[in-house]
Structure formats: structure tokens, C-alpha cells
């Protein structure tokens, strides 16, 4: 009984959190509201992709395709059926999320089934290819608005919906991993042949991961469609897929917590950068120089330095300071180059930041921020000096 009590409490807590967010968002500008919603959607996208890539070890880099299928499903249904059914907005949105999840799941099945004999790089390219095919075909269907796009009415802008979906996605993935049912997915990631020898149906496991991941992406698409009240092909380019992949990689493939944190961070950063206009190009160029130098230095220390952790930390600190110095000097020097005298808007730096993040991450810490680790209450307890569950029951 205690089990159900805790369960109910956490569900109510989650719902309360979502509505709290909604309340906070309502008081803000529409720009900020949009940030709240998109952040929630990206969390869902990152966590659902992590299920495919991090937990099951596949390499899917066309996730935006399922996002798009979901969004267009919702848009199409809204234009045809909303007027007739006349449901209250929340019910309609829920219905759309379910419908979109189904169509996106079917798309996931379509993409997953034939591709799953492929390994690593090839699978990645095929998923990207499928994504592009879906985008180009949607672009050419008049019924879906063609290249211009499809207006979606009604406009439903519920912040709580995006975050409720995110929490649901996190919960489902976490539940999977807490039970024995999650182990076949991890086993497939580690070694397909051994998994097969232990009775795991490898293909089925991969397909399930693909379908689950794509269903959540589809539901997120439905929310997007109704929030923006508009869907169009440029909203779902390869860049969106790469953004989601960067979030998963940064967070640490296999870590749900990592995906959540990375999604929020990588979403928030570029938006914050929009505030900075008039960034001198020479500064950007100098940053490249400084970062490159820092990365080399850090890699050298990582591989060649064998002192204590404290000495190592001192060296890293020194590198950071050195990088800043290099930045200042380079900026001053490069400021004399005529083509670098202009200023640019912070918004142009978004993808540059993502790509630099990807490369630096791969060079310095390929396992991402959290690697395979997850947040757990045990960890919190250990920080507070309280005995962990393990120690208590030993």
C-alpha cells in the first residue's frame, strides 16, 4: 500500500510542478513562454532519442523526422476534424498527442525494421536519409501545405502539456531501466551476439526502442504544431536532428538525467546569446584560437600528466587562464584584419556553439557530462552523509 501511496504522491507532485510552471510562464512575455514550452519539448526529444542511442546503442541521427511526422499529423487532423469534433482544447491536444504518437510510431517502425541489420555509421546515414525523404515529400504535398507550410488551428499554448509529456517520457524510460525489462536493451547495446545467445530477440528489442522513441517525439510534435499554430518543412531540417543528437551526446548517452540537463542547457544558451548583439568577429575568431589551444593543452595533460589529482587540477586552471590570455591577445591582433572588424548578432552563433560543443566534447570527454550515471535519491543521501540504501541493508 505504501507503494501506491508514494506513486500517487509523485504523480500529483509532477502534475503540480507542471501547473506551477504554467503559472510562472503566464506572467512572462510570450517570448519567455515559448522558451518554456520549447525547453520541455527538447527534453522529451533528447530523452526519447537517448532511449534509442544511449540505452539501446543504436545510432539514429534523424530524430527530427518523427517530430515532423507528429507535428504534421496534428496539423492535418486539426485542419480537417477539429471544427467537427468541437472538443475542449485540453482534450483535443491530448487526442492529438496520442494520434501523433501513433503515426510517428508507425514511421519509427518503417524506419527501424529494414535498417536494423545495419551497423553504426550506416544506420546513422540511413536514419538521416529517411528524415530527409520525409521532409522532402512533405514539402511537395499540397495537402500538407507544400513548401509554405500548414496553418494549425486552434492555437493551444499550454506550457504544462509540454512538461507533462517530458516528465512522462522521463518516467517511462526510468521505469524501463529500473526493471529487468530494461536489461535486454542495455545488453543489445553492449554485445548483440552475446545478447542473442542469451535469448534476447535483438531485432525486436531495437524496433521497440525505435518505436517508443519515435512515439514520444511524435507527441512532442503535436504540441509544437498547436503551440506555434503552424508547421512547415524548414522547422524540421537536419540541423534540428543534429541539435538533439548534440544534447544526447553532451548529457552522456545512456544517462536520462544527462539528457535532461543537456537539453535545457543547450536550449537555453543560444537563446541567451540572442541578447548579445554586436559581437565583434575578431572576438569570435580569437575564441576559436583560444579554445583550440586550450583543447590541445588539456588533452596533453590528460594523456601525459601522471601527478596527483590536485596537481592536475592546478594545471587545468592554468590552461584556462592561459586560454583567456590568448583570447585577449588574439582579439587585439585580429582586430586589425579588415574583414574581421564587423559585428555580428548572437543569434548567428547558435549552431557554431553546438558544433564546437560536439567537437570539444568528443576530444575531451566523449562520455558526455554524466556518462552512464543517473540521478538517484541514494546519491543525494550520500552527499548529506546519510547512509545509502545499500549501506543500510548490508
Amino acid at each position: 500500500m505504501k507503494f501506491w501511496g508514494v506513486r500517487l504522491a509523485s504523480i500529483l507532485g509532477a502534475v503540480a510542478f507542471c501547473f506551477l510552471l504554467e503559472g510562472v510562464a503566464q506572467g512572462q512575455s510570450s517570448f519567455v513562454q515559448r522558451l518554456f514550452v520549447l525547453a520541455g519539448l527538447y527534453v522529451t526529444l533528447a530523452v526519447s532519442l537517448n532511449l534509442i542511442n544511449g540505452i539501446t546503442g543504436q545510432f539514429s541521427i534523424g530524430h527530427a523526422a518523427f517530430y515532423q511526422v507528429g507535428a504534421y499529423t496534428a496539423g492535418f487532423c486539426a485542419s480537417r476534424f477539429f471544427a467537427q469534433l468541437n472538443l475542449p482544447p485540453a482534450a483535443w491536444l491530448l487526442l492529438m498527442m496520442i494520434t501523433s504518437a501513433i503515426t510517428a510510431g508507425l514511421a519509427g517502425l518503417l524506419v527501424g525494421l529494414p535498417s536494423l541489420r545495419l551497423k553504426g555509421d550506416y544506420l546513422a546515414i540511413v536514419t538521416l536519409g529517411f528524415g530527409e525523404i520525409i521532409r522532402i515529400f512533405a514539402q511537395n504535398q499540397e495537402a500538407l501545405g507544400g513548401a509554405y507550410g500548414l496553418t494549425v488551428a486552434p492555437k493551444i499554448q499550454y506550457v504544462w502539456a509540454a512538461w507533462l509529456l517530458a516528465i512522462l517520457c522521463i518516467a517511462v524510460c526510468r521505469n524501463l531501466l529500473r526493471t529487468a525489462h530494461g536489461l535486454p536493451f542495455l545488453a543489445v547495446r553492449e554485445d548483440e551476439i552475446a545478447s542473442s545467445a542469451m535469448g534476447v530477440n535483438v531485432t525486436q528489442t531495437k524496433v521497440v526502442a525505435f518505436v517508443l522513441g519515435s512515439m514520444f517525439a511524435g507527441a512532442a510534435g503535436a504540441i509544437l504544431a498547436h503551440f506555434e499554430s503552424f508547421v512547415s518543412p524548414p522547422m524540421f531540417t537536419m540541423d534540428v536532428s543534429f541539435t538533439i543528437v548534440t544534447m544526447v551526446v553532451l548529457g552522456g548517452t545512456g544517462s536520462i538525467t544527462g539528457s535532461v540537463l543537456a537539453a535545457i542547457l543547450l536550449f537555453y544558451l543560444p537563446e541567451k546569446m540572442r541578447d548579445f548583439t554586436n559581437i565583434p568577429l575578431s572576438g569570435v575568431a580569437a575564441a576559436f584560437v583560444a579554445i583550440s589551444a586550450a583543447v590541445f593543452a588539456i588533452r596533453w595533460v590528460m594523456q601525459n600528466f601522471h601527478g596527483t589529482a590536485k596537481d592536475r587540477a592546478i594545471r587545468y586552471l592554468g590552461i584556462v587562464v592561459g586560454a583567456l590570455v590568448i583570447w585577449f591577445i588574439s582579439k587585439a591582433l585580429l582586430g586589425n584584419v579588415p574583414s574581421l572588424k564587423e559585428n555580428i548578432d548572437g543569434s548567428k552563433l547558435r549552431m557554431v556553439v553546438f558544433s564546437v560543443t560536439l567537437v570539444v566534447l568528443m576530444l575531451l570527454r566523449p562520455q558526455g557530462m554524466l556518462g552512464h550515471h543517473e540521478f538517484s535519491w541514494d546519491w543525494v543521501r550520500s552527499k548529506f552523509g546519510k547512509p545509502t540504501v545499500k549501506e543500510a541493508t548490508a
Binding site: 529487468a180 525489462h181 536489461l183 554485445d191 542473442s196 545467445a197 542469451m198 535469448g199
Partner: protein, 254 residues
């Protein structure tokens, strides 16, 4: 009662005949050895039995059913489990988790219940973990249940693979060079462990090995392969003195 039967099993890779018309039979409860020089086709035989490869010709029968060409995971469900020559553990999973993967094929609860974290799934997970712990006790790894499997010593990793295979509750256990890399004491313990598995748990065991002393002291019957062909079969004493075997092997003195 015949448990496993290979009847002229053959597999060709392009022009290379890796396993050439091999026939042998295992009865329930046998402790059977498969030996031969490197490249003789022993692991390939294992791969044929466990469904990694499909035989080019010939029949493989298990428990009355023909299994040639059946996919590997179905064969595991039918009751054949194996370990690998180059250890294939689930490296980033813990010792316990590795074994639970083996036990998972007996799960009854559907996936959707797991996604909803229902009580029946929680119970099943606990019972699978408990069963896994029992197996770890048999192979003496229960103290390191939560250690990352990649961090174990080589000998412990081999024992873990055996525990994992046993978790599938097989009728037939295939061990591919289980003693490789072990010191003499570990080999003694492994010898006793395999005998115990056969006697107490009731498994039939087929193993590949290079350590002659180990094979001769453990196995009751032996088949010798050389270049894909079977060159001798029989009890250890007969094999020991068979001139064909000595010629093929020139292995250690026994």
C-alpha cells in the same frame, strides 16, 4: 537418451570448408569434450549449434527438434546456452545484471507493465535478481555482484560467463575454452564446478578446450577435429593413445 545430434554437419565459407561432415551425438548427462588444433573448426561447430551460422548441409537435432539455421535467440529459448572463446560480457553492466540478462528469457510480465512500473514487474525483477544471486554463489562471485563486469579479473569474468549461461536454465551448456588464461588452482576449481553443474544441476555439458590435462580429467567422451574433419572419437584413454590425434596435435604430454 539423445540430446544433441550432429549428422554430417557442414559449413562452407566461400571455398573454405570450415566444418566438414561432422557427426557426433550427446546423451543427456554427458560431459563431452571437443578438441583439436587451432583452426580445426571447434568454435565454428559451436556457432552452428547455437545458430550463429546456418549449416550449408547436414542436420543438427536437439531434443528431437531440428535446429539447423534457427536464429540464435530461439535456440537459447529451446535450451542451449554457451560461453564464448573471447569473453563476451556486457561490459558496462554489473556482475549481477549480466546474469539477470541470462535469466530474463523466462520472464512473464509484458513490457507495457514495466513501462508503467507495476507491482508484478517489480516482484518479477526481484525474483530474477534473487535467482541470479544463487547462481553467483555457485560460481563464487556473489561478493562482487555490484562490481562492473569489465573490472573483474580474467578468471572471474570466465566464471561470470558460465553463471550467465546457466541463468537461462539450459538443458545443454556449451563452454568455449572455459579454462583459458586460468592458473592451475582456478582450473581445479573450474573442474569441480563443471562436475558439480552436471551432477547437481543436471546439465549436459559440451566443452572446447586446449588444456589436455583438464579435458582428460573432466570429460567422459571426446571428439577430435582437425581441419574441419572428425578424426577420432571415444573415451579419454582411447583418444590419448590414438596415433591420428597425436599426429594432428603434438600437444602437451598427458
Amino acid at each position: 537418451m539423445s540430446l544433441l545430434q550432429l549428422d554430417q554437419a557442414t559449413i562452407k565459407f566461400g571455398g573454405l570448408i570450415a566444418v566438414n561432415s561432422v557427426s557426433f551425438e550427446l546423451k543427456k548427462g554427458d560431459l563431452f569434450g571437443l578438441i583439436g588444433p587451432n583452426g580445426a573448426g571447434k568454435t565454428t561447430c559451436f556457432n552452428l549449434i547455437t545458430g550463429v551460422y546456418k549449416p550449408t548441409s547436414g542436420k543438427i537435432t536437439f531434443d528431437g527438434k531440428e535446429i539447423g539455421g534457427t536464429p540464435a535467440n530461439k535456440i537459447a529459448n529451446l535450451g542451449i546456452a554457451r560461453t564464448f572463446q573471447n569473453i563476451r560480457l556486457f561490459k558496462s553492466l554489473s556482475v549481477l545484471e549480466n546474469v539477470v540478462v541470462g535469466g530474463f528469457l523466462r520472464h512473464k510480465t509484458p513490457l507495457i507493465s514495466a513501462l508503467a512500473y507495476l507491482p508484478n514487474v517489480i516482484k518479477e525483477t526481484e525474483s530474477l535478481k534473487a535467482e541470479a544471486m544463487e547462481l553467483l554463489k555457485i560460481v563464487n562471485l556473489d561478493k562482487v555482484a555490484d562490481v562492473r563486469s569489465a573490472d573483474l579479473s580474467y578468471g572471474m569474468q570466465r566464471r561470470l560467463e558460465i553463471a550467465r549461461a546457466m541463468a537461462t536454465q539450459p538443458k545443454l551448456l556449451l563452454l568455449d575454452e572455459p579454462a583459458a588464461g586460468m592458473n592451475p588452482q582456478e582450473k581445479e576449481e573450474l573442474n569441480a564446478m563443471v562436475k558439480h553443474i552436471r551432477d547437481e544441476v543436471g546439465l549436459t555439458v559440451l566443452l572446447i578446450e586446449h588444456d589436455m590435462r583438464f579435458v582428460m580429467s573432466l570429460c567422459e567422451r571426446i571428439v577430435v577435429l582437425d581441419a574441419g574433419k572428425e578424426i577420432a572419437a571415444g573415451p579419454p584413454d582411447a583418444i590419448r593413445s590414438d596415433p591420428k590425434v597425436i599426429a594432428a596435435y603434438l600437444g602437451e604430454a598427458v
